[in-house]
Each structure stands twice: as C-alpha cells, then as structure tokens.
Symmetry: C2
C-alpha cells in the first residue's frame, strides 16, 4: 500500500512536520517502552555512516575503543557531588537481579565518567601510562519526562570519549581538539555547520570545570546542542583516586576530559535539510545515494529491467551506494514520492524510450533555483558524473545551511527589548554583550525562553560586540550567543 | 614496569591459564560491577574486526541493522511460556526510574525476541512486507551466578538477528543459511572450526522449535557453544499477533528465526590458539598483525628509528595493520615478551647491524616444527612477503585446529562404560548412537558431566554410526556428539 498522504508543512507546524518525517521516512518508530524509540534500518543506516566517519577520526587522533559496564553501582554515581545532582532525577535503577533484591542498587549508565575513571585508576600508575585516550560506542538511559524521537529519548545511542592526562594543558588541548573534530564532522558529513564555543556555568555538564559545545541552527531557528566536549579538571580523578607518579616522582591526580555525540545528530540532520516533501540526506551519510527505478511497461519490461540491473552493478563498482526499486505493485509516481520522502539524493529513471535512446533521467532531491528537476543524460555520462554530482550536492547543502545560519543570526543587540524583538521577528542566534551574571540568563529565559547557547569561539564573535551587558547593568565581559533551543 | 612473570601453564591449570592470559594480554578486566567485565582496547579491537566481517556477511545476504529498546516490559517477556521459564532466573529488573517506582517494571533485555516481534507486528501487513531480515548489535544482561571473562558474564555484547517469513520452509532455510554463515566466519576468521548440527530438546533455546548450533573444541577438550540459530516456528508470532495477509488473501501468522554470536567468541579464540606464552591471534582479527621493534643502541639509534618509521609506513601502505614499539624504558626482550603474550602474529626487529646489511629479523608468534624462530631477510623481501605470510599463518592455524579437533574426537562408542573411558582418557567429542530418550542425557550428565552438544550435520556424522543407543536400551534414532562443555 502506497503511503501517499502529504506531510504537514514546516510552515504550518514544524514539530508536527518533524515527527511525521521521522515516522514516515521510517527512520524510527515509537516503542511500547516509555520514551524509548526503535531505530529502523533507514535511520540506523545513517547512524552507521556517522559512526564509521567519526570512528576513523577518533582513531586517526590516537583514540582506541573499549567497552565498560552498562550498570554502575549507585555509590559510584554519588561520589562526585555536582554529577549526581545533575543526573539523579533521570536515573533508571535496577533493584532486583537473578531473582533477588540487590544489596546495593545499580543505575543504568546515564554517562560513564564514574565507572571509567574507577577503571583508569586501576590501570594508571606512572606518567608513562598517560595519556589514556579511550572511546566507547554505547547506549545510555536518562529518564526524560518529555521525549521526542532522536532529540530526547529515555535511551539513546552515543559515543563517549574519556581521557586522562598528566597536565591540565594537555587535557584542555584534548578538549579543544575534539570540539574541532566534531565541528569538522558536522560540516563535512552532516552539512550542518555548528557554531562552537564555551558553555556558561549554568549550562555546563554536571561535574565539569568547563564545557564546550557545537550548536547548530535548525530550520525553525531553534538551536540544537549537537556535541559537547568537557574539561573535567581533577574533579573525578580526586573522587576515584586516579593518580600517577610524575616524571619527578610525585604522586599526582590526573586531568580528565569527556566528550560525546549521539543519535540526536540524526534529528539535527532532519531539521537542517528536510523540506515539505520529506527528508534530504547528505550523500555522504545516505544509506542509498541513488535509487534506480525502472519504468516497466508491457513488452519492454525485460530489457528495461536488465538495463536497470546493469546500471546498479556499474554504480556499485564506482563506489556509489545504490538501490534498485523494481517492486511491481507500485506505480513509478508512488516510488518517486516514497524515495523523496526518504531523502535519497538522486533518482535515476530508465524507461523503454530512454533505453532506445541510450539515455537515463536523473532527478535531484533538491533542485537549485532555475535548474530543471530532471536531466536526460546519455547513460555513460550519467554514470560517470554521478560521484561528482553527489559531492556537489553535499557541498551545496553545506553552503545553504551556512547561508541560512548567517541570515538568521542577529548581532550587536544592546538591550533586552531589542533581543525580544529579534526573537519575535524569528531570529535564530542573537548575539549580545553579557556581564557574566547568571541572573541575566534567568531573566532572559523567563521572558523569552532563550538561553545562552555559547560564549562563542573567536571566529564566530562579532567585529564590534557591544561593550555593555544586554541587561543594561554592567560592562560586558564576553559576547554571548543566545537562542531558543531543543 | 615490565610484566615478565611467566603464565601458569595450560597443562598445570587450564582455567587459571585462561584467566591470566585474558587479564595479562589486556583483553579484558574485572569491573566493580558483579559479573560484568571491561573489554579493554586490545580485546575490543578483536571484537571490531569480528563485527566488521560478520556485518558484511549479514549485509551480503540481505540483512539490515536496526536498534530496539534495552528495556522490555515485564509483561512482554512473560508472554511466551517456555521463553520466560528459561530466562526468569537471570533477569535484571528496573523498578525505579526518574525518581519514582514504576507501575510496571522493565527487564533489561536478556535477548530481544519479544520486543522485536511486537514491533514487526506493527510493520507487517501483507506478504509483500516479508521477509523482514534484521539484525542488531547490542548489549544484553543475564544475571549469571558463576561468571568467567568473555565466556559467561552478566552483561555481554552480541548481535541478534530476527527474521520473519511467509512460510516455514523459508524460515528453516534462513536458519540454516545463518548457521552456515557462522561456520564460515569461525573457520575463515577465527580459525576455529566448529561442528554444526541440531540441539537436542533439552539444550534448545527457550521458545524455539529447533535450535542449531556451532560447537568448537577448545584446547582443554571442552566444547564451546559458539553460535546458535533458532527456528522459532510461529511461537512468538502467535503471542505478539505477528500476522500478514497472504497472497491469496488469508490472515496468517509469520514464521520467525533468531540467531546470535557474542563476545564469547573472543574466549573461544583464546582457548583455540593460545599457548603457554600467551595469546595467539589469527592475523585477520589481530588489532596489530605486525609489531615493529627498533633495537636502539647509542649512536645508531637515530637511523634505526627512522628506518623503523619508514617500515611502518610501507607496511601500512600495503594494508598491513602494524604497530611501532619505540618505548625507550623497556628492553627489547621485555617487548618481545609482551607482544608474544598479546598474540601479535609477527614481530619485525631492526637493529644497527641489520640496518647496515639491509636486513630485518622476522619472528613468527608460532614456529612450524623444524623451522627457525627468526628469519633474517632482506628488508624489501620481508615487506613484500608479509601479506602472504600473514595469510599462511592464518591458514596454518585453521589446519592445526581441525587436526586437533579430529585427533580428539572418538567415534563409534557403543556403551556408557566405553564413553566414560573415552572421557577419562581426555577425549573431546565422543560420538555414539542415541535413542532420543532424555533420560539417557540425564544419566550421562550425572555420571560424566558430558552433554549432547549436537546431533551432527551430515558431513560430521560417522560412516558407520552404532545402530543402538549408547545406553544399551533401544535403537539409535540419531547419532549424537557428546562433550563436556563451557
């Protein structure tokens, strides 16, 4: 049965559009488990490509994968005071196992700093054992009250990196290295260009000294925290006795960092590129980059199907990820509709007339202004050009996303009234001066539901940032980028 | 600090040897969580290569990856009667979450049939939606009383495939396809040749109609169940209303299969190839296939180190996974010792004299009878030949394992006395006739701690299997392969 109902438009109701796209593009589905989703093959395929790209980047920079326990003794999670305060409300607790009540309950990891640094303490003796640079791909559980597919679910998949260093400088360098790596990944693979910078105290990770983040602007102009990298100082090292003998024989505490991105990135991808026809997947992450649809009619069906098979084989040989859609109970139109909704970058059609003329029709999921939707090309040319067309498509998505972010960023805002007006006019990021006073953050949040997403890194700062705080009270000590956020 | 203590020998205490190898080769470590282990980078690296090989095989045969929730409502797990009986004693139960007692507790998945078929029921309407061929890479928890690193842990990593088909024949074919795929993987990658066949009723999966398994013989002549593939019939489809409209318009229940292998395979690898010097990793799965060790002495240290770097680059270009060990606080001997324990297939040494002569020393982790431990080869030859030497090494490991399995298999056993004698003489697999009576299984288990591992597939059956049951009572209806097992 063809699912040919139109999606709610982004204009009409962005949240509803989002949910429909995720469900109807078969990225994910709701499950019978409160707040947990099922990631379906089309969504998991995107995640696999994200994993493989990120994993290569981690390994190139000297990190190794490992795997630590899902369950964490309650007493561990309670050791770092800010950490447990941050996570306590969201914990899922195992109280029975093997048919008995447990003496000490376990929590399902909401994040793994505690158990991981307890292990590092066992492995690290000397400065020679440092740095420790590990990552794990894992599931975590945070019991969320209001959940949304990919963006906020009780269980999600992520990677969490955890490192230990001999000096604060080295740990800080690692924190920044990973932030840069995340940014590169988001730009080059998701075509989702984030701003980067420091979190304010009120928004930092529970247990960190400093948190850095990537914040990307979605099509509804809300910001999405897409990745974080934390400098943990010696907070956890002190609780878990993660010490080492330094080169000059002193017993010292190690310095830690932790960093992660999650399946939330798939939600970011959807809201960065999707349109009223559905998903648009950047070619580098698309489970299928091209769908080949033979137009089968009567007597010519055999040769057309053979040609389609041949094209699929050739494209595979060229390293293109391709699917053949030869289902015979659906019309070509219904297939076009379905693969558009699923966001496949290119569709290649071949019918009896094309076959006779040695041509194929190539349709892009998004058509640049002024270009035709479909190009009829000689078969050999279409096949030869597809890899570079995929790369151009990827590049155009990034450029469009950067342009949209910049067009929706308002700078130099000098008062709360001006800020409110900017948000009411639909601004994305709003830049202002800030005194560093958390009361200003509270006031803005109360009044216009916006928060400081970042104290932006230099390249994102304004040329002429206001010298006074947006509140009117006091000098600005830093520029701040505000936004309504997911 | 160099860890240069000798391992307990296999002869002296195989179980102790195993534990020491796993810990001291840094494959895994005990954790503060009862029965859970930490998989360290060296062990996880092996798992990554296993995953990537298996995953490619699954995909080539039309399977897609997905991800289903970790938590399963208690009422789901209870629906299939045999299933819950089998798993109830091992469940870990979440009773609190988000600061509240849950109305219905969740269990952490011990396996995912119930939640997965509940979802399939939602997705499948028509025969056109079949088959559904999905796999997930996931962690599961089974609260085990007696745990052993990799072999039996409360949490482990695995893949679980779950499929739905329109007919029993198709589902049976899938079950056998996967069994064959597992066997191929174990032979070609782990160099661990299993026997394959059917499980007896008493050993089958809780909820299955029939279970097939791969059973491999470890160096202590105990069998390891290394992979299973289950034909589930319509047992779960009926409980979860997984129905479809058939081609002729009838509402029918689907037919299911499920199948899995786990990190237990790493334990199998250790016990198939390891020796008193430590681990031996088959090249195709080795995180490092070659370790390059520069022998650094005084003035020549610079050029030797440069040459070592160059060799590492060249090997990488040739697709060899290589590590450089240039640590300067350890002697070459200590390094040799460590990499042998970690099971790296080849060690390439380069010292000042070798450099002058244009040679390198190449040492194999295992030396075939009559060959020298180290070969001094011209550098170019060593580099050119390494890929094929790695493949030969892989092949020799498999041949040795097959020969060992055959040498330790006793066939044609006609009585319980004869069987006991075989086991007392140290036999691995003992083949006999069997009447099909579970009382015989009970008696054998009681008397000699052996169980039926398999009703072997045709190619493993004896040419002249006994016509009577090993118990002396009744005719044999099938040949059975017995062993003591992990």
């Amino acid at each position: 049965m063809a699912d040919d109902k139109k999606l709610t438009s982004q204009q009409e109701d962005f949240a509803k559009w989002y949910n429909e796209v995720v469900l109807r593009a078969e990225l994910a589905d709701h499950s019978p488990v409160r707040g947990s989703m099922v990631i379906r093959p089309w969504g998991y395929g995107i995640w696999e490509h994200m994993q493989s790209a990120l994993d290569a980047m981690f390994k190139e920079t000297g990190h190794e994968n490992a795997y630590f326990p899902l369950l964490i003794p309650m007493s561990f999670i309670e050791r770092e005071k800010e950490h447990v305060e941050g996570f306590a409300p969201e914990l899922a607790v195992v109280t029975q196992a093997g048919g008995k009540e447990l003496e000490e309950p376990y929590v399902i990891r909401p994040t793994s700093e505690t158990i991981i640094y307890a292990m590092y303490a066992k492995w690290v003796q000397s400065y020679r054992d440092l740095p420790v640079l590990m990552n794990q791909w894992a599931n975590v559980v945070r019991w969320e009250m209001r959940t949304r597919l990919f963006l906020r679910t009780s269980e999600f998949l992520w990677q969490e990196g955890h490192t230990a260093h001999a000096t604060a400088e080295e740990a800080e360098e690692e924190t920044r290295l990973i932030l840069g790596l995340y940014r590169t990944f988001m730009e080059d693979w998701i075509a989702m260009p984030p701003m980067t910078g420091l979190k304010s105290e009120s928004e930092k990770f529970a247990g960190a000294v400093r948190s850095y983040a990537c914040e990307a602007l979605m099509k509804d102009n809300k910001a999405l925290q897409a990745g974080t990298s934390h400098f943990l100082g010696q907070n956890f090292a002190k609780q878990f006795e993660l010490t080492f003998q330094s080169e000059d024989g002193q017993e010292e505490f190690a310095w830690n960092t932790s960093w992660g991105v999650s399946t939330r990135l798939i939600g970011g991808l959807v809201m960065t590129h999707g349109d009223d026809n559905g998903l648009v997947i950047p070619p580098r992450l698309a489970p299928a980059q091209v769908v080949v649809i033979p137009i089968l009619r009567g007597d010519d069906a055999g040769p057309v199907r053979d040609k389609a098979d041949e094209i699929v084989s050739r494209l595979k040989e060229n390293g293109v990820r391709v699917r053949l859609d030869a289902r015979d109970h659906l019309s070509p139109g219904a297939k076009f509709f379905e693969w558009e909704r699923k966001g496949v970058p290119f569709r290649l059609e071949i019918g009896p007339r094309d076959l006779a003329e040695g041509k194929v029709a190539l349709a892009r999921r998004l058509t640049p202004e002024g270009e035709k939707r479909k190009a009829f090309l000689p078969e050999a040319q279409a096949l030869a050009e597809l890899p570079e067309r995929l790369e151009s498509f990827q590049g155009e998505l990034l450029q469009a996303a950067i342009a949209r972010r910049e067009a929706n960023t308002v700078r130099g805002v000098k008062s709360l009234d001006e800020m409110e007006e900017a948000f009411e006019d639909g601004a994305g990021f709003v830049f202002s001066g800030w005194s560093g006073d958390p009361a200003v953050e509270e006031a803005v949040k109360e009044r216009m539901k916006a928060t400081i997403r970042l104290l932006p890194d230099e390249e994102f700062r304004s040329d002429q940032a206001p010298a006074t705080c947006v509140s009117g009270a006091g000098e600005s000590v830093t520029e701040a980028a505000w936004a309504r956020a997911y």
